[in-house]
Amino acid sequence: MAMEICRREHGLEISELDPFLAELLRQIPASACPESVPAAENRLFSQPIDPAEKNICSEWKLYVEPELRRLFQTATETVAEDLKQLSGDEKPFANRILFIPAKNADAWLNALNQARLVIAAKNDFSDGELGDNYRSPIGSRRDLSLFQVNFYGFLQEFILRELIDSRGEAPA
């Protein structure tokens, strides 16, 4: 499994993509969907306050949650649009390049985070499992999901480093 990430003037370029990693990248938008799994849904849309504060909770559900849903959906749509670069079969994977424009870095961070949280919630990973970055080989569906969480985390770290280095951090 391999790929190369290079910093370019206006973003990040991922090349030399292994087909397996390319497939994981293409799964980001789908992985971010809670699919009516309560644990995943509850993690993405967590309670803002003690449930005893009923008024605040119901106002939050009515006014804030739809806005959060729109924000998350816009992020995954942006990523899905960028991932179209990996579609088609005219070139072998090794020759395909995924360019992540710097202007889409925030959307990528958000979508990757959504995907990681949803996968972790669906699999109910323990803290120990999530901290085990070097678990191998991939022998089960659960191992694969954990690998996916770690791979997306690796990509997030890279994008974050890019943001920090190129913009001096905390760009909004």
């Binding site: 993405l44 849309f45 967590s46 309670q47 803002p48 306050i49 003690d50 605040i56 804030v64 806005e67 959060l68 729109r70 924000l71 816009t74 992020a75 749509e77 942006t78 649009e81 202007k103 889409n104 925030d106 959307a107 961070l109 958000n110 985070n113 959504q114 990681r116 949280l117 972790a120 990973f125 803290d127 999530l130 901290g131 969480v149 985390g153 997030q156 770290e157 974050l160 480093r161 943001l163 920090i164 951090e169 905390a170 760009p171 909004a172």
Partner: protein
């Protein structure tokens, strides 16, 4: 679609001027503006530990949302990591709600709590 992201984020992610403690502790402010907001004091914004969110990501979010310098953001991040929670801000409810909303936009586990 991309323009929507930029527009949304520019609204949601504006760093807000740092407040070093509960607004009620500032006697000057208290005298000058006895508004409904001040009567509503005090609330706090709490961020809870989450084993999925990356430490660097959490630090970046604290910098962006609260306008904290990197060192302060890191201190809060480490407090969340080691103690399970950290109080990021205290003050009026309306502003605290806005902070919690922004933190949820970044997918952090954040809650609003009444002080006391």
């Amino acid at each position: 679609m991309r323009a929507e992201v930029a527009q949304h984020q520019s609204v949601a992610l504006l760093p807000v001027q740092e407040v070093s403690g509960p607004a009620i502790s500032d006697p000057t402010t208290e005298k000058q503006t006895e508004t409904e907001e001040e009567v509503d004091l005090p609330w706090q914004v709490v961020v809870h530990n989450d084993p999925v969110n990356l430490m660097t990501y959490v630090t970046m979010v604290f910098q962006r949302v609260f306008g904290y310098p990197r060192e302060k953001a890191e201190r809060h991040m480490l407090e969340v990591h080691h103690k399970g929670r950290s109080i990021l801000w205290s003050g009026v409810r309306e502003r605290a709600e806005l902070y919690v909303q922004q933190l949820h936009g970044y997918l952090l586990l954040a809650t609003l709590e009444r002080i006391g």
